[in-house]
């Protein structure tokens, strides 16, 4: 596949040649990551089925909107990246800021993924952390750097097949072990009646339903599914606009089944009265005690595959944004013909930084909590810019810069004060929408600016 990579478009966008089914499976492979597999099983052990909201109300509506509104707009704009869209819709400052914020987050995500792989290999194989980080970094680096997005997407698709196969086997064996579906349900609700409820009470300390709908459903989820470069890059690499939109809808259908992979093991650990000290040990416990030895190995491979498929996509996306959205803007005389070489070098550099930072991620608290906190700080303001920029002609460039800076400051302050991260996301989003709308009256764009390619057209 590396021989087919001749220029930057081949490397970053697979030569715009991907079919809907590859993109759809790659989206799911990229989405189900370290926090997905290990963290979600742990959270469902504490919360029950409500954890699946991250895959249902916290994903599906935003994926439908991405397929119908955002992907067509990005395609019409002809961009390589979401920051490039920001650059066309607003200005170069927003493009560089959005790229810097996303890249910073991705570097931490790469480090977190490598750390998660190290923890898993330590649990199952007994490897020291440094060895796991070096081996997994080398494997991912080899195919990501040589084959670019095409190699990543096809590898992701294969990994998703393994993940779903293992998920179905775990569900079948787990229900059999529990004595059938009815016995499973009785055991689960006997432990806590709310474990089979999609929503927990509004005064729940960790997962109150209004915060789930307003924070997760209205802010975090659309910000991720409609604005994340890591996810949307493969839709920009589709062979046609139809393939791009259809792939997202297909991914949404597959996403509906993801709780079987990542939430069910946590529920199974409750039903089988797992002897574990920490919720995050639910998945390793299920693998050790429910699966026969041969399948444990397959499941172990599936988890590694899930982690690697997120890691490779993050590397390529960060490399793209630094090459085109940061270097391309800050050094306008840079030769675009060198983008391929620079992109490959940056992929290697980001991977090395991630490998260096990975051992320190463990000291920053729970993986899941850490990544969600980082996300909630940036996603409210960025979503406001994306939403008003895509749906209206009113949002102006100067107002967008002011709102991005002040919105991130506000959400950092709210996080520092200990406010629930879902409320932080909603609060900073609500502020950013109102501020962007109001400031755009104060600092409007030039009236002759042509936004026809950059704004959603109503039917």
């Amino acid at each position: 596949m590396s021989r087919r990579v001749r220029n930057a478009e081949d490397y970053f966008l697979a030569g715009r040649s991907l079919a809907w089914w590859v993109i759809g499976m790659s989206i799911i492979g990229t989405n189900v990551s370290a926090e997905g597999y290990v963290g979600a099983a742990g959270s469902s052990y504490r919360l029950g089925v409500a954890q699946a909201n991250f895959e249902w109300i916290g994903a599906i509506p935003a994926m439908i909107l991405a397929a119908l509104i955002f992907i067509p707009v990005y395609w019409r704009a002809g961009v390589y990246s979401i920051p490039e869209y920001f650059g066309q819709r607003y200005n170069a400052t927003i493009r560089v800021l959005a790229a810097c914020i996303s890249t910073l987050f991705i570097v931490f995500a790469v480090a977190a993924a490598l750390w998660a792989i190290a923890l898993i290999l330590e649990t199952f194989v007994g490897w020291p952390h440094w060895l796991s980080i070096v081996v997994s970094g080398t494997v991912v680096g080899l195919y990501s750097i040589s084959g670019g997005l095409a190699a990543i997407a096809f590898t992701d698709a294969l990994q998703v097949v393994i993940m779903f196969l293992c998920g179905v086997i775990i569900v079948a064996l787990g229900i059999h072990e529990a004595g059938g579906a009815e016995a499973f349900r009785s055991a689960l609700t006997a432990h806590d009646p709310d474990h089979l409820k999609a929503y927990l009470p509004a005064d729940h300390p960790n997962f109150p339903w209004p915060a789930v709908i307003l924070g997760l459903g209205i802010v975090l989820s659309p910000a991720y599914w409609c604005g994340s470069q890591v996810i949307l890059q493969r839709t920009l690499a589709a062979r046609t606009r139809w393939d791009a939109s259809y792939a997202m809808m297909f991914a949404a259908l597959a996403k509906t089944c993801v709780p079987l992979l990542i939430v069910f093991p946590g529920l199974l650990a409750i039903v089988l009265a797992a002897d574990i000290a920490e919720p995050d040990q639910a998945l390793p416990w299920v693998i050790k005690h429910v699966l026969p030895p041969g399948l444990s190995g397959l499941m172990f491979t599936a988890i590694l595959a899930a982690l690697q498929s997120s890691l490779d996509s993050s590397l390529n996306a960060a490399s793209l944004m630094i090459t085109r959205d940061i270097r391309g803007v800050l050094s306008p005389r840079a030769d675009p013909a060198k983008d391929l070489r620079i992109g490959r070098l940056l992929t290697l550099l980001i991977l090395l930084i991630g490998m260096f930072v990975a051992p320190f991620i463990g000291q920053l608290g729970g993986l899941y909590q850490f990544i969600q906190t980082m996300l909630s700080m940036f996603q409210g303001p960025l979503l406001a810019l994306l939403l008003l920029g895509t749906l209206t002609r009113h949002a102006s460039a100067r107002a967008a810069v002011a709102v991005l800076v002040s919105g991130v400051t506000l959400s950092s302050a709210l996080s520092y004060l200990g406010v629930n991260l879902l409320w932080v996301a909603f609060g900073s989003f609500a502020y950013s929408v109102l501020a962007l709308w109001a400031l755009s009256f104060l600092w409007p764009d030039a009236p002759d600016r042509d936004l026809s390619r950059l704004v959603f057209r109503r039917a």
Binding site: I57, P61, I64, L68, A198, W209, W242, M249, L253, T256
Partner: protein
């Protein structure tokens, strides 16, 4: 967010969450079918039924409504 609003939100019954979820999906269904066929099939090799994003979206929404009905 002001404390009074947060406090008020914590008093809302869970049933409202299910109603809000149904409304979100019904809105999406209406929006889905408001898109013209020319836009839906833009770039598709042909207009066969299985390529209609609106049909795939409808199946998806029905599955979601069934899930939230089951786990209500």
């Amino acid at each position: 967010m002001p404390d009074a609003v947060l406090h008020w939100l914590t008093t809302l019954p869970v049933g409202y969450a299910i109603v809000a979820t149904y409304l979100v999906f019904v809105f999406l269904l209406v929006f889905l079918w408001s898109r013209p066929a020319a836009e839906i099939f833009d770039g598709a090799p042909d207009r066969s039924r299985w390529r209609d994003i609106r049909l795939l979206g409808t199946v998806l929404i029905i599955v979601q409504l069934a899930i939230y009905q089951f786990f209500r």
